[in-house]
C-alpha cells in the first residue's frame, strides 16, 4: 500500500436488512475514501445508515455487497475469526455508553484488549499506564466504572481504544451520553489523538458542535451519501 492510498476505501457498498418478505435497503452504493490521519464525522438523521456504515468499516457487521478496504485489506471477505483478529489489531472502539466492564477497574478495562496480544504483563502495564496518563486518569486507575463520572468513563473507553495503537478509531456518538462541558472535554481528547498521535478517527454524531471538530463532514440521507 502506497502512502497516497486512502486508509479506508469503500466501493459500491450496499447493505440491506431482510425482515420476513421485506427487503430494507440501509446503505446504497456507497463510495468513500478516508485518508490516513483524517478525522471524519458522519452525520445524518436517525435511520440514515451512518451507524451501519461505521459498523461495517469497523468490521463488526458485514455488507450485503461491495468492498471495504482498510489499510489494504478487504475486510468484507474475511472470515469471522479473521475479522475478530483484524479488529483486535486495527480498530479502537469508543461507544456512546462507554461499554466498560463493570467488574473491572479502569486499569483492567484498558488492559482488556491487550490480552489478545503477545505482550508480557510488564509491557501491558506500561501501555495501560501510558494510555490512562494520556486521557488524564492516572489517579483513577483502581476505580471501577460505577465510581467514575460519565466523562471519566468515556476517557477510560478512549484509553482502551488507543492502548493497542490501532490503525483506526471509530466513535459512535461519543458525546451522546454526556453534558456539554464533559462532551467538550472528550471531543478535545479525540482531537488531540488525531493531531498529536495522527490517529484516523471516524465518528458518528448528531451533535453539530462535535462535528465541527472533524476535518471532514459526511452526510448520509436514506443510505446515500448526500455530498
Amino acid at each position: 500500500m502506497s502512502g497516497d492510498e486512502p486508509l479506508v476505501a469503500i466501493r459500491r457498498l450496499s447493505k440491506v436488512y431482510v425482515r420476513g418478505d421485506q427487503v430494507i435497503p440501509v446503505l446504497v452504493d456507497i463510495n468513500l475514501d478516508v485518508a490516513r490521519g483524517d478525522y471524519v464525522a458522519l452525520m445524518g438523521p436517525s435511520g440514515s445508515g451512518k451507524s451501519t456504515l461505521l459498523n461495517l468499516v469497523a468490521g463488526i457487521d458485514k455488507p450485503t455487497s461491495g468492498e471495504i478496504r482498510v489499510a489494504g485489506v478487504d475486510i468484507a471477505r474475511l472470515s469471522d475469526a479473521d475479522l475478530a483478529a483484524w479488529r483486535a489489531a486495527h480498530v479502537g472502539f469508543v461507544f456512546q455508553f462507554y461499554n466498560l466492564m463493570p467488574v473491572l477497574d479502569a486499569f483492567a478495562n484498558v488492559e482488556l484488549p491487550l490480552l489478545l496480544t503477545s505482550l508480557s504483563r510488564r509491557e501491558r502495564r506500561e501501555r495501560v499506564e501510558t494510555a490512562l496518563a494520556l486521557v488524564g486518569l492516572t489517579d483513577r486507575i483502581e476505580h471501577y466504572p460505577n465510581e467514575l463520572s460519565g466523562g471519566q468513563q468515556q476517557r477510560v473507553a478512549i484509553a482502551r481504544a488507543l492502548v493497542t495503537d490501532p490503525t483506526l478509531i471509530v466513535a459512535d456518538e461519543p458525546t451522546g451520553d454526556l453534558d456539554r462541558t464533559t462532551g467538550g472535554e472528550v471531543l478535545g481528547l479525540l482531537d488531540r489523538l488525531n493531531r498529536e498521535l495522527g490517529k484516523t478517527i471516524l465518528m458518528v454524531t448528531h451533535d453539530p458542535k462535535a462535528a465541527e471538530k472533524a476535518h471532514r463532514l459526511i452526510h448520509l440521507e436514506k443510505g446515500v451519501l448526500a455530498d
Binding site: A58, A84, A88, F93, F95, L112, L115
Partner: protein, 385 residues
C-alpha cells in the same frame, strides 16, 4: 489470571443470586449424596458378599428350615470346600425398637468361612469354650455400651423364652464394608435348648453356607447341591451369597427405585434452576459480550467465560455439598442405629457428586454460552442502549 479474576468477579456480581444458587446446589448435591448412600447401604450386604460362598435354603421359603443332616451331604458334593450353618434368632433386646440381627451359628466353621470378622484370639477362644457365649460387632457394642463379660438378655420371638448370652468377644470388620452390628452365638446352645422344649424343631438349620473350592464353579456346585436333595421332603435352593442378599433387597426394590429416582430428580431440578440463573446472567450481559467481541475476542472466548462462570458457581456449591454429605451421613447413620449396618459415603458416591456438579455447571451454561457466542455484535451492542 486475568480471566480467573473476571470469572470470579462475574460470579459474585449479584451476590444474593449467586448465594441462593450456590445454596441450591449445596442442598441438591448433599441430598443426592445422602440418597445415594442410603441406596448403597441397602446393597451393602450384597456388595460385601463373597463370590466364594453359596447359601443353601429351603426351596419353598426361607421360613422353612432344613435338616441339619444335609450338612454332611453338601460337604460330599464335588467342589465344596466347607459347610457351615446358621439360624435367624429374631430376639428382642429390652424393647422391639432395639432391632439388630442375631444368628445362631456353628461358630468354628462359620468364623473360618468369614475371615472378614476379625476377633482377638483370646476372645475367639473364650467364645468357643463358652456354650452360652456370644460375640457382637463393634458398632453394636458401642451402641448399647456392651463390653466383654456382660450378659445380654434377649427375649425370643421365634424361640420363646428369655435367653441370656455371655458376651465373649467383640469383632471388627476387616474393612468398612463389613457389617459390625450383628450378634452371633452358638447353634448348639439354641439347638439343645429347643430340642428340650420342641423336639420336632431340633436339628434344623435355617441356611447352610457353602465354601467353594473354585468361585468359578458356583453354578455347577449350586446345581449339584440342589440335585442332591431333589424330590426329597425338603428340597433346596442354592444360590450365591450375593444373589441370596439381593433377594432381600428385591423385596424393597420399589422403594429403592423411588429413592434413586428422587436423587436424580433433585439434580435435574437444580440443573433447571442453575440454567435459569445462567440464562438471566448471560442475557443481562449481552452488551458486554458484544463489546468483548468487538474488541476482537473470539466467540469461543466469550462462550468459555460463561461456561467457566457456570462451572465455578456449580463447583462452589457442589464442593460444599460434598463436604456436608459426610457429617449428614454420620448424623443419619446415628439416627438410624443398626437399621443400616453399613452406612458410609463411598468413593463412588463422591465421584458421582463431582460428576453431577460438573454436569449441572456444563448443562446450565450450554445454551447461554451458545447464544452469547452466536449473538451479532451490532445486536448485542444495541442491548445497552
Amino acid at each position: 489470571m486475568f480471566v480467573t479474576l473476571l470469572v470470579l468477579r462475574n460470579i459474585f456480581r449479584h451476590k444474593l443470586r449467586a448465594f441462593l444458587t450456590a445454596l441450591g446446589i449445596v442442598v441438591a448435591i448433599a441430598s443426592f449424596g445422602l440418597l445415594r448412600t442410603v441406596v448403597d447401604a441397602w446393597y451393602a450386604g450384597a456388595n460385601a458378599s463373597s463370590s466364594a460362598r453359596l447359601v443353601t435354603r429351603s426351596s419353598v421359603s426361607l421360613v422353612f428350615a432344613l435338616p441339619l443332616t444335609y450338612a454332611q451331604k453338601i460337604r460330599q458334593v464335588s467342589g465344596v470346600a466347607g459347610v457351615s450353618w446358621a439360624n435367624w434368632f429374631g430376639g428382642v433386646y429390652v424393647t422391639e425398637r432395639n432391632f439388630f440381627p442375631q444368628f445362631a451359628v456353628d461358630a468354628p466353621t462359620y468364623l473360618a468361612m468369614y475371615p472378614e470378622f476379625t476377633l482377638p484370639d483370646a476372645e475367639r477362644k473364650a467364645f468357643y469354650t463358652d456354650r452360652q457365649g456370644a460375640i457382637v460387632g463393634r458398632k453394636l457394642a458401642d451402641q448399647y455400651g456392651w463390653k466383654v463379660g456382660d450378659t445380654i438378655p434377649l427375649r425370643g420371638t421365634i424361640y420363646p423364652g428369655t435367653w441370656n448370652f455371655n458376651l465373649r468377644g467383640i469383632y471388627q470388620g476387616a474393612d468398612k464394608t463389613v457389617d459390625e452390628s450383628t450378634m452371633f452365638f452358638h447353634f448348639d446352645f439354641l439347638n439343645e435348648s429347643v430340642k428340650k422344649v420342641y423336639p420336632r424343631r431340633g436339628d434344623q438349620a435355617g441356611v447352610f453356607i457353602v465354601q467353594l473350592r473354585d468361585p468359578g464353579q458356583a453354578a455347577v456346585v449350586s446345581e449339584a447341591i440342589d440335585a442332591t436333595f431333589a424330590n426329597s421332603l425338603a428340597e433346596t435352593l442354592t444360590e450365591t451369597e450375593k444373589a441370596f442378599q439381593l433377594s432381600f433387597v428385591a423385596m424393597t426394590e420399589a422403594i429403592l427405585l423411588a429413592i434413586q429416582a428422587v436423587s436424580f430428580v433433585v439434580i435435574v431440578i437444580i440443573m433447571a434452576v442453575m440454567a435459569n440463573t445462567m440464562a438471566m446472567t448471560a442475557r443481562e450481559r449481552y452488551a458486554e459480550y458484544a463489546t468483548m467481541k468487538a474488541l476482537g475476542f473470539p466467540d469461543t472466548y466469550v462462550a468459555g467465560l460463561i461456561v467457566a462462570e457456570s462451572l465455578g458457581l456449580a463447583l462452589a456449591g457442589g464442593l460444599v455439598g460434598i463436604a456436608l454429605t459426610f457429617p449428614l451421613a454420620q448424623a443419619f447413620a446415628d439416627a438410624m442405629g443398626t437399621l443400616f449396618p453399613i452406612f458410609f459415603v463411598s468413593d463412588e458416591t463422591v465421584l458421582l457428586q463431582v460428576a453431577a456438579t460438573l454436569v449441572v455447571g456444563l448443562v446450565a451454561a450450554a445454551i447461554p454460552a451458545w447464544r452469547a457466542a452466536r449473538v451479532r455484535i451490532v445486536d448485542g451492542l444495541r442491548a445497552v442502549a
